[in-house]
Amino acid sequence: MKKAYDTIIVGGGIVGCSIAFELAKRGVKDILLIERGYLASGATGRCGAGIRQQWGSKLNATLAVESTHIFENLESYTGYNYSCGLNQAGYLLIACTPKEWDQFQINLDVQHELGVESHVVDLEKDVYNYVPFINTDGIYGATFCQKDGHADPFHCTFAYAQGAKRMGVEILTYTTVESLIAEQGKIKGVHTSKGDFEASRVINCANGWAPGLAAQVGDEIPVFPERHQALVTEPVAPMGPNGPMPMVMSFHRRFYVQQSPHGSFIMGIAEDEPISFNYRSSWQFLEECCSIITNTLPALRGLRVVRQWAGLYDMSPDHCPIIDFSKNAEGLLNICGFSGHGFMIAPRVAILVANALCQQEDAIDIHMFSADRYRTGDILIEPSVV
């Protein structure tokens, strides 16, 4: 194996793999991607697998809309022989307070400006056309977008990785990047569990572990790991109007639940979690999650849970990603802080990053994602996150 590369990407999740693909597509040769476990073994493979365009900020909505267009054709885009499992059964967002409902109206305006086909759902009768068994007690209003849905995080990551490999990207799994090597303000490479690799450019996509690596060269990235748990039930026949039940999501009740194309229900809740790398499962989650979700969707009461797991959200202060060109080590790019919605915006973020690194034009200014925004106050506000 070679010891020197042009670019090293740390992290084999959807972000690392999609950036590898987009860079290779733009003609960057000599890329090495290093992953500690197997591809998508971290947050990507542990996520709720949702694709949502109903965002409250124009920036997130733009990233999500353009990413969805890529998800819609990801197989042909990357030359992947399997299905990436996209199923656009829709997202039903429910508002449980008048204040939240007011926010939804503002969000709808933002979404409509970008051409998102979201709309208000009448709670008296129309809502049952989307989720036939929903309990509307305590719900003020709901919005629906048919183009939202589900995609398989593993297949999407493998699609990008295979496409990247075909263009010459080398992928090294089961290898831990232990530290970054920097000299005189320039990045020189990485020190790994399988030896040192040289590179003049390092892209740090290590999710919750990214700030720790960045700190080694003196970069302060205010991103903290937070455990989020999810569970999956046995598969049953489709429970939506024309196939799997759409995603039902509430920010106030802090839950999401959707039926996968396979028939199983994937669900999770947001709990008050300390900053920690702990990603063990807890029985408290199982109990609370089932209780909260069956309150809104009583028909799911009879379902048996088959599996439960946890993963890490990389939380940033404003719940928006940080894309930060290092000031302490030239050639180092830190990308993290996706705060639980990295999977659904990764395709567009990868294009943004690749365009910036290849000096190509992009409609979005990458510098607004810099960690400097927390000092200057130009933070990216997102009102709609679980």
């Binding site: 036939p132 068994f133 046995e234 598969p235 049953v236 026949a237 429970m239 028939g263 028909a299 799911l300 009879g302 379902l303 048996r304």
Partner: protein, 102 residues
């Protein structure tokens, strides 16, 4: 067919009862499983494979393998190899994925 005598086990089957399987009346005992009663009545195909819908018979017999999923009294995905018989229960074979009644 039921085992009547066994060198080390005693069978306390209880009083004879009946339940229906796909509309057919089946003789059973309260201390045996649904699968045992079906087996005694000559019914060997229990479930079907999820993708190709090929027949599946009794496999693990301890409630692990999902080979014997049936709908019991309206509840889908029941592992009938570990559920005991009750008088008048309605057992139906399940084609494809179970349907949750709303």
């Amino acid at each position: 067919m039921r085992i009547e005598e066994h060198p080390v086990l005693d069978f306390e089957r209880g009083e004879k009862i009946t339940f229906t399987y796909n509309g057919q009346e089946i003789e059973a005992y309260p201390n045996e499983t649904i699968v045992a009663a079906l087996h005694a009545a000559g019914i060997r195909q229990l479930g079907e494979s999820p993708e190709l819908h090929r027949p599946r018979g009794l496999f693990c017999a301890i409630g692990n393998c999902s080979s014997c999923f049936m709908t019991v009294d309206g509840e889908p995905n029941m592992r009938v190899c570990v559920i005991k018989c009750k008088q008048g229960m309605v057992v139906e074979s399940q084609k494809g994925k179970g349907v949750i009644r709303v």
